[in-house]
């Protein structure tokens, strides 16, 4: 049963997933382009770290994009048929949803492996200045955690009805409207940054997306 669900997920996502796997493999390689000389000065090493940090933004962005895409493909066929097919299959709904989730998560494993291999290859081929170290596995683990977290969030949202998606959008829209109204009334309360900080700064649930995503660091 799981094999067939995995097959459908593969069929629906393969055309977009393959370029994303390539991107995950290429990102670490691109990020170490500046690391050419092991005899670099501390100033040049710092420049390298800055460059790596710039590339580091790409990891959470890539994780979010891939997770969103995979979650959407997991449910798009069911949405088109108003979930009638899935609901008429003789398995409990939670079981079907779990298998759909598992199939997507398994395919995401390919992206993580590609990134890990890319990071290992990049770390192995780049000349790393003295005092700096490569962390390919740590980077891949962090990418995996961010990817699966984003996938779980998007999967839960896309599994719902249009009404559910509407509620989520209405909450986000409501927060923006309240912020605008507060500003207009001369009340300087930074609502959006406040909520954003609670989400992405420790111990917020999305903390993993923030901070430094470094393949090479001190």
């Amino acid at each position: 049963m799981f094999r067939m669900i995995l097959f459908t997920q593969w069929k629906w996502s393969r055309l977009t997933l393959l370029p994303l796997v390539v991107a995950a493999f290429a990102l670490p390689l691109l990020s170490v382009q500046g690391a050419g000389n092991p005899q670099t000065t501390p100033w040049e090493a710092r420049q390298l770290l800055n460059a790596l940090q710039s590339w580091g933004v790409g990891y959470p962005v890539l994780a979010t994009m891939i997770a969103l895409f995979m979650a959407m493909t997991a449910w798009s066929a069911d949405h088109r048929g108003r979930h009638v097919y899935a609901l008429s299959l003789p398995i409990p709904r939670w079981h079907y949803a779990l298998q759909r989730f598992g199939a997507g998560a398994l395919l995401l494993g390919a992206v993580v492996i590609a990134l890990w291999l890319g990071a290992l290859f990049a770390a192995g081929t780049a000349s790393i200045p003295a005092g700096l170290h490569a962390y390919p596995t740590a980077l891949a683990v962090r990418f995996a955690l961010a990817l699966f977290l984003a996938y779980a969030v998007f999967f839960a949202i896309t599994a719902g009805t249009t009404r559910t998606a509407g509620y989520v959008l209405a909450i986000i829209g409501g927060i923006i409207v309240v912020q605008v109204l507060l500003e207009a009334a001369g009340v300087h309360v930074s609502l959006i940054p406040f909520i954003g900080d609670r989400l992405i700064l420790w111990p917020g649930p999305l903390e993993i997306f923030s901070g430094r995503w470094m393949l090479i660091d001190v």
Partner: protein, 298 residues
């Protein structure tokens, strides 16, 4: 008599304009039950409630001896369902759709499925999105039949299909029923189609069950009578007068329900004479029944 489907006091509301009220329905085991009703009468909603796709406000539903929604996976494993709109994953090919469907049903008959693919002349390598409406209808029926279900729930299975495809689909259905003694619950607004194949009929209108009886009783019970010198007021009739229409001279045409031949004595008692008893086909009976339901007469 055991029942494959039994619904009691079912209530369901969808928005402000539609509700199912006090629905009670019993489908005898092994019967071919035709579920009739105009568009929007609640047939599809009732089916979805029966199969656990919707949750009722109250009431009990028992299908194949098991309770909905508690035992729904067990019920669905023994039930073949053809919905009103095609519901399969259209990016799959016919072969992939068969393989996908098969893994969920322990009673799946692969050999018969292959035979039906040949019989229905379906191209295994073709994507579902490229199938014609008729081919999709055949595939939906194929999937439902190859499960070897004890109960088939078919929601307008031949709606929009051309006569040739319709005949093929119904022939496959009847063939299966004759072999398996399965129960079939088939909803349709194509009255003539049900008249030919069903032995029980339930009529739904505006969210309520208007009638439920053997097909033969339904067909025989509604008659059109030509009456000469009819009384101005029918009085206490042994049958239900559904409609009265003036004819030529001093004659009228009455449409009645619950008619039996000995009731002709009533006319002698009121000074009228019964000239002719005309059989109505199911469609006419269906229309008259709905007319009475919507405009009750005393």
């Amino acid at each position: 008599m055991s029942h494959a489907v039994e619904i009691r006091d079912l209530h369901y509301r969808a928005g402000k304009n539609f509700e199912i009220r006090e629905l009670g329905l019993r489908v005898p085991t092994g019967s071919l039950y035709g579920f009739l009703g105009p568009n929007g009468s609640g047939k599809t909603t009732t089916i979805r409630l029966m199969l656990g796709l919707l949750r009722p406000l109250r009431g009990t539903i028992t299908v194949l001896g098991a309770s909905v929604p508690r035992d729904i996976p067990r019920i669905l494993a023994r039930t073949g369902y053809v919905p009103e709109q095609p519901h399969l994953y259209t990016s799959l090919t016919v072969d992939e759709a068969l393989r996908f469907h098969a893994v969920f049903y322990p009673t799946w008959d692969g050999t018969w499925a292959n035979e039906l693919v040949g019989h229905f002349q379906l191209d295994r390598g073709r994507r579902l999105s490229q199938l014609s409406k008729g081919e999709m209808g055949k595939l939906e029926m194929l999937l439902a039949l190859a499960q070897r279900p004890e109960l088939l729930v078919l929601d307008e299975p031949t709606d929009g299909l051309d006569p040739v495809v319709r005949r093929d689909v119904l022939a496959a259905l009847l063939d299966y029923v004759s072999q398996q003694n399965a129960t079939v619950f088939i909803s349709s607004h194509l009255v003539h189609e049900l008249e030919r194949i069903c032995d029980w009929v339930g009529v739904m209108d505006r969210g309520r069950l208007v009638a439920e009886l053997p097909m033969q009783s339904f067909k025989n019970g509604i008659k059109r009578l030509r009456v000469a010198n009819p009384p101005a007021l029918p009085g206490d009739t042994p049958f239900v007068v559904l409609a009265r229409e003036a004819g030529n001279g001093a004659s009228e045409t009455w449409t009645v329900r619950g008619w039996q031949a000995p009731m002709s004595q009533y006319f002698e008692g009121v000074g009228a004479s019964l000239r002719e008893v005309i059989d109505l086909d199911l469609e006419e009976g269906f229309v008259e029944l709905l007319r009475t339901f919507r405009e009750p007469r005393s």
